[in-house]
């Protein structure tokens, strides 16, 4: 079940360095929201604050509020582990578990959390692999190691692994940057299908990709190197690319800087 994300006044630090400053935005359920902006502007950091992965980095801490359907992820009694089960994540580089087979990789989220029956597991794995458009390619070699797949297949395996635990939100941190155009297309198609069920947030450096897959686009920028990144604007994707309200956005999109 997709959920709405409501961020207000979010500031994230690495030690004493402020990486992103005072970000507020709303991410609509069952939609794709893309984050664009130059390197180092804090897109990925912001993404990682949405499932409390930021604090996994040594020195990482967060101020502000992230409401997931009215529940603050940074509330006093919130368990980060529970948050991450609700808000799944796909990383830049495909990272299947090297010791596990394809089947075990997809089952990892459920199995490592205990409490599943075998018959149920096979069902979930098949459903997730089909959801990630990978089932036909791997159904005959589910017991082979996941690291034997191609890069694009590995990334879809990671997506299958992420959706197997049935999260409400799926965060994707440049999921296609290590992939060739054909694999990228496969993943973009997949994103289009997944948004029927999940709230999707995707970080990308590829503006065409943002234009292709997203409903809304957020542009991040930083004043100078070493300065904290800021949200410049967030709007309908068409509006951002055709007629942005801030000059910096237009400059970035038209390639005048960054």
């Amino acid at each position: 079940m997709a959920k709405r994300i409501d961020v207000s006044g979010l500031t994230a630090y690495y030690g004493s360095h402020r990486a992103i400053d005072d970000i507020s935005m709303t991410v609509e359920p069952r939609s794709v929201t893309a984050f664009i902006g130059p390197s180092g502007c804090g897109k990925s950091t912001f993404l990682r604050t949405l499932n409390r992965m930021h604090e996994v980095t040594p020195g990482g801490r967060v101020e502000g509020k992230v409401l997931l359907d009215d529940e603050n992820l940074y509330g006093a009694n919130v368990d980060p582990v529970a948050v991450r089960r609700t808000v799944g994540m796909v990383f830049q580089r495909p990272n299947p578990f090297p010791t596990m087979s394809i089947f075990d990789n997809v089952a990892a989220g459920l199995r490592l959390n205990g409490k599943v029956r075998k018959s149920e597991l096979a069902e979930v794995v098949e459903k997730s692999l089909k959801g990630a458009n990978l089932w036909n390619e791997v159904k005959d070699r589910l017991n082979k190691p996941g690291s034997g797949l191609s890069g694009g297949q590995q990334q879809r395996l990671c997506i299958a692994r992420a959706i197997a635990v049935e999260p409400d939100v799926l965060l994707m941190d440049e999921p296609c940057s290590a992939l060739d155009p054909i694999s990228t297309l496969a993943i973009e198609d997949l994103i289009g299908e997944l948004k029927e069920r999940f709230t999707i947030v995707i970080v990308t450096h590829n503006m065409q990709q943002a234009a292709r897959v997203s409903d809304r686009t957020a542009f991040f920028n930083l004043a100078a190197v070493g300065q904290p990144g800021k949200l410049i604007e967030i709007d309908e994707t068409e509006r951002i690319f055709a007629n942005p309200s801030v000059q910096a956005t237009e400059d970035y999109i038209s390639g005048r800087f960054g």
Binding site: N51, M53, V56, P58, V81, A82, V83, R84, R85, T86, G88, M89, F91, R93, N95, P96, F97, P98, T99, A108, G109, L112, N113, R141, K144, P145, S147, G148, L149, C158, R161, A162, V165
Partner: protein, 359 residues
Amino acid sequence: MSHAAVQDTPTPVPPPGGPGSLSQRSLPRWAPAGFALLGILVGVGIGTAAGLDSKVQWGLIAVIAFVVISYVVTSTVENQRQARDRLATSVVWVCFVLAVIPLFSLLWTTISRGIEVLDGYFLSHSMAGVPSAEVGGGVYHALIGTLEQVGIATVISAPIGLLTAVYLVEYGKGALARAVTFFVDVMTGIPSIVAGLFILSIMLMTEIKPSGLMGALALAILMIPVVVRSTEEMLKLVPNELREASLALGVPKWRTILKVVLPTAIGGITTGVMLAIARIAGETAPIILLVFGSQLINPNPFQGAQSSLPFYIFEQYKAGEVASIDRAWAAALVLIAFVMILNLVARGIARWKAPKTGR
């Protein structure tokens, strides 16, 4: 380049090795072997001519001749850069040979002398009632002692070392982690006799009698830092992405470590533990102090004196009789084989458990 091709070209091709040419005169591929042969001949020649007795001197002359010849010939035929490359390569090869000679000599001596006595009887009998001057007897009691002491030491130190390494890599930060790292480094340098004395002092204070367990405790002190160090390095090699991937699935940290980090590193960890076992299997000093030594089979490590392979070798050698020295060599062979088999098992496990990449 063929001769005809040179004639066909309108502009003359510069001769090989000339300015502007990419090709140059070069030595044939068998040149290093030739230099080595030449060096050995020079060594043997000068050695016989000068009537040098020591074969070590022959070898040194041959080595120097080899290095000098390869450098001089290469610098005349090829160029300075190639000559320096050849010089470095020659020195590396010489060092390799120097390192390997003692190893092979040791293996050869141990095998050729040890094989005489080594048989089923030797492996299955103790020294009970066998005078040191007489043939017979065996190593069974020492083998049992070594297996039990090393086994207990491993059971104690593998979990402690593993958990310490997990703490250092996954949780530790700040002063405590630095202190632990420092003391692990200090422990690595503890001489085995000191570890033995430490346990001995406890035994004297609490009036405990020597037993295999006491020896195992001293061995564990020696083994823990080795296990911590090797496991730590292996855990650091596990990519952070895997930890993040697991955490992002909502898996708690302890399960991530147990199910993702440790399995990924298990091959290297096993190798590390096996190497640590190999290191302590040859310790003699703590055994002399704490296990006391025995000629009889004592399968109970918790009570009474035991023997062990290194102790047995020491004891048989000290007896000084022909028969006992033969037994010492055979026991040395058994010890080497024991360590070697452990190493092979470790490599097997490492290969079997290593992350698979096949399609």
